[in-house]
Symmetry: none
Subunit: 211 residues, 4 copies
DNA sequence: GATGAATGAGTGTTCATTCAT
DNA sequence: GATGAATGAACACTCATTCAT
């Protein structure tokens, strides 16, 4: 069955369901989220759900992918046009934390997704890392950062951002990350990427690059 | 009711259940793990489970806390007696990845725990971070690393390790982390912590330290 | 969740469940009555039960209250318009025994309800006694019966009816109470309430009336 | 297996179990009473239960029959040697209410027993009624009470006592029945049995006697 | 498109009973 | 006699999904 909304009414209902699903998934997680809860939150009848989605997993995937695109967009938007790499880092992470504060769903959901929908989970991480890694790659080629492996660095720094966000945005249920923490993280990132450093050997070439 | 095993036979059964639970949780996650699956895996009757555990959540918490202590122990064991901070980092992370390869359960489980058992989830992260942060703190006071905020740095670097481990150990279902990735991560960490660096302002004091 | 049937089909199913539940409760009692038995008896699927009732206790309460209202109605119906008090007694008890023979459920259930649902148990007895006591009260004020405490008398005579019904309707699994027993009971009641009697002090006032 | 206690220790354990069972049955009813609860209350191990009783039903029957004998004894004790029939009634009922206040178990249990153990339930009622009815019979033959059917009257008046006890001893959780209620009931009973009365026809013979 | 009643497989948990020690 | 670990059938209840209206 084709479930694309064919009428404005249908499109509206579908949108209500997606919003409700994000809310419910964020609040109680995938497994505790029942279709009944989602339809009640959306204000539609139970059966209506299946006019728009194949099942629970499909709406989950849709919500995750949607959120994933939106973070990615928010982050690249924020760093676009920023020439200095470190400034771009700052802007990107700030956008990431802001998004986290506004959409705890993504966070909470993605950490559940391992067993629910590994494919979309990986797509999400790959999406973000790809953008980040290519940014690092070009910064490296321009000599703005030191010679790190861009893919490894991208995963590592994304991981750093993830736990910091979990700890100081989600756990604190905060509207925004505390400035001191943000600066602390920036300090670490700056150190990790800083163009000149006496630490570490200088590989100076691409040998052994990951992927 | 007191569920402490009072006989050797009881202790043996309890241990079988814990091993089985770790396995089942790691394979299918908390929600898909049924008590039936666990008892079948353990080779005991369904009812026996309730002789030893209050319920599903209790065995989950026990498994998580147990694994948590074991990683922590493995990591501190590995870095104990290593004088050089960077060497200690290398050893700690190596132990972490080795543990991850051997006990994917911890990883998979912990990322589910947000909605299942937030308390133990936090205890786990706090446990690990505490040890890590105090190591950084004393290294900093000895001038072995630069003046980063130890708590923020600990969370950030643990996050780095977590995603790297997820990406290259779990997703690849590997026995160990690829050397190149490991070195890539070490390179990032070295940069982040390196004692001399031209990057960053030098706070040189404790103002604004987190927590 | 609102479980009111919203369609004729729903109402029909709900009714089938109530009838089945009365039957099952009467046959095996509350604790041996399983939801499976009830739904099988009703010819619907297990899950359907929960579309209409919150749980086992709710359907129990509903059945009890329903039966309670029906006996009360049958009894007051029977004695309505009967001028003579003793005749009214006869009619009321006759209706009571007839109801008992037709709905053993009420009897059997109510005697279980102490631990299952004390509230509805009390509501049932209070319901019946209230009607009975006010009948006695007005008969007394008209001098048709002697000066007994109407509330105490109502409880006492209801108890008399209850055990007689239990002994000669339920235990004998009879369609109706044997005439001789019925007359024997009426004889006792007549004596207890008879307007002229040499027995007993004549309080002649309301002092010490119960409740 | 013969479960008669063969040693003083065994007899003591058995007694502890019986006391515990009465307590537990009275508090939570038959179905909610688990063997574990009973053995815990008795302070013995679970398995020990089965050295003394065949199963849950057996201990239930034992407790009921034991209590039944004890009420009967208390009641006949109280009225023994009382010459006047009405005085004997007063004494018997007083003893009954006192027993009820002290052993709510009997009441609560007996009303459950319909589905648990119909045989002992009937034995209990038969026991009590037999004694009562034969008392009435001989009083009648001596002309102390009027010519009621002794069996029917015994059941009826026992029912009266039962509900009065339920209402004013159990429901009020009282130590004793309120005097006014007791006198109210006595008043009803006196009327029902009083030797001279203008009410009722005088059967004057045994025709149609029940049983 | 929208509705909500119906379905039934599956879950966590309880508990009377057995039995090796 | 006493102990407590082990057993497994049974239960109340949930929920993704279907389908007649």
């Amino acid at each position: 069955m084709d479930r694309t909304a064919r009428t404005p009414r249908g499109a509206r209902t579908r949108a209500k369901l997606l919003t409700a699903a994000e809310e419910v998934f964020a609040t109680v997680g995938y497994h505790e989220a029942s279709i009944v809860k989602i339809t009640e939150e959306a204000g539609v009848a139970l059966g209506t759900f299946y006019t728009h989605f194949e099942g629970k997993k499909e709406i989950f995937d849709t919500v995750v992918l949607d959120l994933s695109q939106r973070v990615r967009h928010a982050m690249s938007e924020a760093s676009t046009g920023v020439d200095d790499r470190l400034e771009a880092e700052r802007a990107g992470f700030r956008a990431f934390f802001a998004f986290t504060a506004q959409h705890p769903a993504l966070y909470r959901i993605i950490r559940q997704a391992e067993f629910v929908s590994p494919e979309v989970m990986r797509r999400h991480y790959d999406n973000i890392v790809d953008g980040y890694a290519s940014g690092l790659e070009s910064a490296r080629s321009r000599g703005e950062i030191r010679d790190v492996d861009p893919v490894v660095a991208a995963w590592a720094l994304m991981g750093a951002g993830e736990l910091i966000g979990m700890r100081w945005v989600l756990w604190e249920d905060a509207d925004a990350i505390p400035e001191a923490v943000y600066e602390g993280l920036m300090d670490v990132i700056r150190g990790a990427l800083a163009p000149t450093t006496t630490a570490g050997t200088d590989p100076g070439n691409d040998e052994g690059r990951v992927r």
